[in-house]
C-alpha cells in the first residue's frame, strides 16, 4: 500500500472488480477512455488476470473513490487514473494522488520516464498533466521525465503538504 497526505493507494484486489467495472462503465468515466466499449464481467475478469503493471484503488477517509495505475507496455510504463466520486474532482486531491504514484514510479521503481495518453477533447486532463510536467510527443501521447517531474513538483509541493 502507498500512503501519503490523507490518501491510501491500495493494490487492486479481485473483490474490487465489480466496483471498478461499474465505475469504468459509467458515462462520466467511459467518455474519456480510449476504449469506450461497455466492459462485460468476462472481459473484465480476463483483463484482471492479464494485468501487467501496478493498479491501485484510491482511498480517502476509508472511501474508495477511484483507480490509478502504471501499466507496463513493452519496455515502458503508462500512467493513468480516474476519480469516480465527484466530491474529489477538480480540487487538489488529484495532485496529491498522482504525486504519490509518480514518486512510486521514479523513486521506488527507479524509472526515468513515464507516459500517458489523453484524448484531444479532454482539455482539463491536458491542462492538468502539463502542469505536472508532461510534454506532448504525439497526437494523444505525453511523456514525463523524472527531471520534469521534480522541477514541477517543487512549485506546489509545499501546498500539497500544507493542505
Amino acid at each position: 500500500m502507498l500512503n501519503k497526505y490523507d490518501i491510501n493507494l491500495q493494490p487492486l484486489k479481485k473483490e474490487d472488480l465489480d466496483l471498478i467495472r461499474s465505475w469504468r462503465n459509467s458515462d462520466k468515466i467511459r467518455r474519456y477512455a480510449k476504449n469506450q466499449t461497455h466492459i462485460t464481467k468476462k472481459m473484465h475478469q480476463k483483463w484482471f488476470e492479464n494485468i501487467n503493471g501496478y493498479y491501485f484503488i484510491i482511498e480517502i477517509n476509508n472511501t474508495k473513490i477511484g483507480l490509478i495505475w502504471l501499466k507496463k507496455i513493452h519496455d515502458y510504463y503508462e500512467s493513468g487514473f480516474y476519480i469516480y466520486e465527484d466530491k474529489y474532482l477538480n480540487n487538489i486531491y488529484s495532485y496529491k494522488i498522482v504525486t504519490i504514484l509518480h514518486k512510486f514510479a521514479f523513486y521506488e521503481l527507479g524509472l526515468n520516464e513515464i507516459y500517458c495518453e489523453i484524448l484531444e477533447d479532454n482539455s482539463r486532463a491536458i491542462r492538468f498533466n502539463k502542469s505536472l510536467g508532461f510534454k506532448k510527443i504525439d497526437k494523444i501521447k505525453y511523456r514525463l521525465t523524472k527531471k520534469d517531474f521534480e522541477t514541477h513538483l517543487q512549485q506546489f509541493a509545499s501546498i500539497l503538504e500544507k493542505y
Binding site: 474532482l89 486531491y93 488529484s94
Partner: protein
C-alpha cells in the same frame, strides 16, 4: 495585495478574463490547477483556509471575501 491585483493574478492563473461577478461554476478553467494556484495565492496572503471550504465558493467575489479584499 489589492482587490485588482488579486483579480489580475487569478485571471492569469485561469488564463481568461474575469471580474468579481464571474461565476466559478460556469468557468471551464475552474479546475484542480486553478484550485492549486488559488491556494498558493491565499498562502502568500497568509489566509488560513480549509480545503473543504473551497466547495462553497460560487463566484470571484466569494474568493475576494475570503482574502478580506471584497
Amino acid at each position: 495585495m489589492t482587490k485588482e491585483e488579486f483579480i489580475e493574478k487569478l485571471s492569469d492563473l485561469l488564463d481568461t478574463e474575469i471580474d468579481e461577478n464571474t461565476s466559478l461554476e460556469e468557468l471551464e478553467e475552474w479546475d484542480s490547477l486553478a484550485m492549486l494556484g488559488l491556494l498558493s495565492i491565499y498562502d502568500e496572503l497568509q489566509v488560513e483556509i480549509d480545503i473543504d471550504e473551497m466547495d462553497d465558493f460560487k463566484n470571484v467575489n466569494d474568493l475576494l471575501k475570503k482574502a478580506n479584499l471584497a
